[in-house]
């Protein structure tokens, strides 16, 4: 199962297009779109306002829904979820190969757009951990705007603080420390950061998806996520190696 989300910041809204079909072409028979948001430290599940067509559910960001999450479920599954205060693995419709994806598109007032095919796997909502992402590979440091969204979705309906760091491997120092919020759309600007090709984003305590955003001098937008670090190598020890890298970095930023 997967969740879907929106991204917002000043002068930037987003549109989420969630397909009613798998990429194999199979359409859902009885699934509907539902939303969830946190109110008073409880998940509140609801039927979202959306534009529904033959092929898509479409949700646009507004002042109220930018931290909400969206998921597909049957009416019975929704009832089951509504009676739980944790996120449930309700169905496997979006568990596909190649991965099921919704189109997450950001747009600004000038009409510029950028999108990526997005999803947030249920399994990631069940675990704590850390985020390790190379800023220097996706940061756009000559652009007018440059930064990274950090989106976490966690099972428990809390909006806890956790720490994010921009770490410079070359100088061995933390260039910036920020406070991030779980179950929220966070944005870290690189406005006051100079790239030297050795910058890493490290976030302690929770998992999440780092999604790099930039606005070019001509106004074009860029939106793309980095891969989880274990996808850069294969072999039986890859998770162990990644764990050691993260542990080492954890000690360096502490």
């Amino acid at each position: 199962m997967n969740y879907f989300f929106l991204l917002v910041k000043e002068d930037l809204k987003s549109n989420l297009s969630i397909p009613k079909f798998k990429n194999s072409g199979e359409f859902s028979k009885n699934l509907k779109l539902f939303g969830a948001r946190i109110e008073e430290q409880k998940w509140k599940f609801y039927k979202p306002e959306c534009i529904e067509s033959e092929n898509f559910w479409k949700v646009e960001s507004d002042d109220n829904n930018f931290n909400d999450i969206y998921f597909l479920a049957s009416t019975e599954q929704y009832d089951l979820q509504s009676n739980s205060n944790n996120l449930l693995d309700l169905n496997n419709f979006t568990n596909t190969f190649p991965d099921y994806r919704a189109n997450l598109l950001v747009k600004n007032k000038a009409g510029a757009i950028s999108s990526y095919q997005s999803e947030y796997p249920y399994q990631m909502t069940q675990r704590k951990g850390s985020i390790y992402s190379s800023i220097s590979t996706l940061g756009n440091f000559h652009a007018l705007e440059n930064g990274v969204f950090v989106r976490n979705i966690y099972d428990k309906p809390f909006q806890d603080e956790f720490d994010g760091y921009i770490y410079d491997y070359e100088s061995g120092s933390v260039l910036k420390k920020v406070t991030l919020i779980t179950n929220s759309c966070n944005f870290i600007s690189f406005e006051d950061v100079e790239d030297n090709g050795s910058l890493i984003l490290f976030c302690k305590g929770y998992l999440g998806v780092p999604i790099y955003f930039s606005k070019s001098k001509a106004g074009n937008l860029s939106l793309e996520h980095t891969h989880p670090p274990h996808e850069n190598i294969q072999g039986p020890d890859r998770f162990k190696i990644v764990s050691m890298i993260k542990k080492d970095l954890d000690e360096k930023v502490s």
Binding site: S17, P19, F21, K22, N23, S24, G25, S53, N55, F56, K58, P98, Y100, R101, A102, N103, L105, G111, A112, I113, S114, S115, Y116, Q117, S134, S136, T137, L138, N140, H142, A143, Y169, E170, N196, G197, S198, L199, Y212, S214, S216, K217, A218, G219, N220, L221, S222, E224, H225, T226, H227, E231, N232, I233, Q234, G235, R238, I241, V242, I245
Partner: protein, 253 residues
């Protein structure tokens, strides 16, 4: 019993037979040797486009080994154009691909292998990397690699490049319905490559194409909501460029 049969069932020669007869086909090889894998990335120098390629130093970060990046460029017909080697002297290599570098205006594909200088242990590097596309002198819009397609054995990388395929050869009738609404865009372009060693067929909304090995094909589409890709290749997921007014968007499908 299943445990006993699994090594037989997953033997590469048996997989070839499974793929031939369509019995639970397998797309990707599980490798046991040390290797560097690469996506089949797209470069563009057509129109006013140029391409930026970025790779991080996976060999040093993960294995504490010095390494270089070997880049191999192919034109749209799949013909080898040139290769370069860039040593990792810092965490990220930022490489510009334009008409001056390639001597070509157009599009094609390229491979990027993170090769370790001295092999002393086990390493399997599937450096995913990022490609940025710029119009004119503007800043790039980025997309990550699509799928690991080719590999080089880390200990057999001298002299002539011996490219191996991460895909098993196969012919699997596949349908890939791109999960995006194209109707709100002015137009889109789909870029397909063929990493197999035989020709493949692609049918994208009735645009029928035969693609030779390593060939890159661009299909333009407009005025449609959905794009359905049918192929005898099991992973027909294109890179998508979409245009709206003076802006463009790029992502994998």
């Amino acid at each position: 019993m299943k445990k006993f049969l699994r090594p037989i069932y997953n033997n590469p020669n048996v997989i070839k037979l499974r793929n031939l007869f369509g019995i639970k086909p397998v797309l990707f090889k599980e490798l046991t040797e040390s290797y560097a894998g690469s996506d089949l990335f797209i470069w563009r120098t057509d129109g006013n486009f140029s391409t930026i390629f970025r790779a991080s130093d996976i060999a040093y970060t993960y294995y504490q080994k010095n390494s270089k990046l070997k880049l191999l460029f192919f034109d749209a017909n799949g013909e080898f154009v040139k290769e370069v080697e860039v040593p990792f002297t810092q965490e990220v290599i930022d490489f510009k691909i334009d008409q001056n570098f390639l001597g070509l205006e157009g599009y094609g594909s390229f491979l990027a292998f993170n090769l370790i200088d001295e092999i002393t242990g086990f390493s399997q590097i599937t450096n995913r990397c990022y490609v940025g596309y710029s119009l004119g002198k503007d800043d790039p819009s980025f997309v990550h690699g699509n799928v690991i397609s080719k590999y080089i054995s880390q200990d057999k990388k001298e002299a002539d490049i011996n490219l191996s395929n991460k895909f098993f050869e196969h012919s699997i009738n596949t349908q890939y319905l791109i999960q995006k609404d194209f109707s709100l865009l002015d137009r889109s372009e789909l870029f397909f490559t063929n990493p197999l060693e035989k020709e493949i067929t692609i049918d994208a909304n009735k645009n029928l194409l035969t693609i030779m090995p390593m060939e890159t094909v661009k299909i333009s589409v407009n005025e449609c909501e959905l794009i359905k890709v049918k192929s005898n290749f099991g992973f027909p997921r294109p890179i998508v460029f979409s245009y709206k007014e003076s802006f463009f968007d790029v992502h994998h499908a």
